[in-house]
Symmetry: C2
């Protein structure tokens, strides 16, 4: 974690949990993606963290943006970035939201069925659409369900219908699953995408673009490959499946762009045991599932945690949040090793919290305010 964040926390003590994001790390991550895949456009997944300072920085660095809603599109346009740098990447859109995006200048839309194509044809005529296909997500720590995308066999019909209705059938997208640890995960999806390109060519329609989605990991407790390893594997897969006719390509990092740029400072509220004879302690923090750490759901994401007593002996504990909700437990099935000396009132630092924390926070469950956030 960055000295800048530690410095900031020391200089500005505060009550209550707070996220601090270091823009230098975001800039470093953007550069890593740009260098690893120099011919690929980066569309930052705004939903990961839409803080204006982050959007402004990425806009100034030349990033494009993957938006899930009209509000996110407006947040991006507020940076001064043009609508040509926006993809409306949600496959589930109200027709009036598509119309509003079109009004704002957006011309690139995700679809995964004919009904969505029809909406776009009605209110965003002439736009480019890409069809999202299902992908098995093997190897991801947060695998995706079938919620987004259609079977690859259905994609050519969806794209052909777009062309028939006056849209531009522009390409194919997929997502290999969030926090994807296997750099080869893109290979089979790119093979499938290349097959759809060929099928469309046989139908007389030339596709241009492959949107290779997100999935690039942040560094939590488990070691992960670096961005260059992803770049190399993806480039090799592109060459394997598209040969010399490489399509335009897009990636949509969110977690990989901002995850390790943020750190949450929290406080120990209580340390207790449930019975005199219990071996395991419960440690309660002033932040939990409902105020930023939602991704501990099913203990999926395991955040690194630092304390001022890390030199002391450690023992496993159940780690929980502060709300009157029994679901608000962070790590229980696999208890978390923390110093035995950890005490009420101690501050703890939770690392790699830049993505999917502020936005997942409830508006005020139990009367606790949403997660505070500072960008430095």
């Amino acid at each position: 974690m960055t000295d800048r964040i530690l410095d900031y926390l020391r200089r500005t003590p505060a009550d209550g949990p707070r996220l601090v994001v270091d823009l230098d790390v975001v800039e470093r991550n953007y550069s890593a993606f740009a260098h690893a895949l120099p011919d690929t456009r980066v569309f930052y997944a705004v939903k990961a963290n839409p803080a204006p300072e982050i959007l402004n920085l990425l806009a100034s660095l030349g990033s494009s943006f993957d938006c899930a809603s009209v509000v996110e599109i407006e947040q991006v346009l507020a940076t001064g970035a043009g609508a040509d740098r926006v993809s409306f990447g949600n496959t589930i859109k109200k027709e009036r939201d598509i119309a509003r995006a079109f009004e704002l200048g957006v011309r690139l839309f995700a679809v995964d069925c004919v009904a969505e194509v029809e909406k776009i044809a009605r209110v965003a005529p002439g736009s480019r659409v890409f069809c999202r296909i299902l992908c098995d997500g093997a190897g991801a720590e947060w695998p995706l369900s079938k919620k987004f995308g259609c079977a690859p066999s259905m994609a050519p019909d969806v794209l052909e219908q777009a062309q028939i209705l006056g849209l531009t059938a522009y390409g194919v997208s997929f997502h290999v699953g969030s926090q994807q640890g296997n750099v080869q995960a893109w290979d089979s999806a790119l093979a499938t995408a290349a097959g759809i390109f060929r099928e469309m060519a046989e139908r007389g329609i030339t596709l241009s673009m492959v949107n290779m989605g997100g999935g690039f990991p942040a560094k939590y407790l488990r070691a992960m490959p670096g961005v260059p390893a992803y770049g190399e594997a993806i480039f090799n897969a592109l060459r394997t499946h598209f040969g010399n006719q490489l399509p335009e390509t897009i990636i949509e990092p969110g977690r990989g762009m901002v995850g390790d740029a943020g750190m949450i400072e929290a406080e120990v509220v209580l340390v207790s045991k449930k019975a005199e004879t219990d071996e395991i302690r419960w440690v309660y923090l002033d932040i939990g599932k409902f105020h930023g750490l939602a991704e501990t759901m099913d203990e999926a994401i395991r955040y690194p945690i630092r304390t001022n007593r890390d030199g002391d002996a450690k023992a496993p504990c159940v780690l929980a949040g502060p709300t009157c909700d029994s679901v608000d437990v962070l790590y229980e099935k696999t208890p978390y090793d923390l110093p035995v000396s950890l005490s009420i009132g101690d501050k703890v630092l939770i690392e790699a919290c830049g993505a999917y924390t502020t936005t997942y926070s409830t508006i005020g469950f139990n009367g606790f305010p949403p997660l505070a956030s500072v960008v430095i």
Copy 2:
């Protein structure tokens, strides 16, 4: 569902999902609790729905309030109810929050360990404390973990320590699990509580109160016993275990007070299939897990849903929310029967949404605003 809500929705069409809560139903529920257990004080669990109109109504009806935080205490005091009608029921409290509650006049606090007793003794001298004990939660649709409460064998030591430190060891609390369908669930917990009363008497300390918690169900799809059945079973259990020396008693209904008083109006955004050969449709609404329907987590709560096409043939579908998040699926393991004719743009009414919806809503995940709420 109430005609008042249906009338309101007809008269005031609006864009986007919204919760409408009918105060008449809340009043009816309060009366049902007051009649079923006439000697028991009702402490409404504010976290279920802290809308000012609901708190004002309940304050005027004579209710007391179970609060999870200083903000909730302030919300209750804003109704004009005195601090003697407040219980700070969270067992996990910062010492400075206890101090603030004490300053505001609160004198009743939950504990489940000696460390929490010590905080209260330091900053809320002379207050009453009750010790929460663990309860197995069998029969609950949303069973509780071990997060709150200590083993019953530990409770006498916790309470004795309170007395030693100048507090009043006031009683015992437990929670039989949320959405508890078994009216007998209170029996074994009351037996345990009576045992702690006897043990304390042997130590020369007379306990006064049993806080019997919440757990009273709302009516979702599955039929549940009515409030009178709970009242009768609880009264019988009290007589069995406390004989003629009935303690003061408290209940803390949240879901049971407001759950069935609210209805969410939502809109169908997309209906699609993932492959031409799929039998099952996906129906996407403009509300999901992150904007009010968090309690569909693990498909725990199954909301009744009405449409304008309920006379038509029905077929199972996967029901999902509108965000770019694969977790945002409401019912998939057990698909939901909805009319085959259900179409994009149709409104749907989701019943029994008065509790744990607005407060669980994220502050704006994916750029979608928090759940709108109207109280009529």
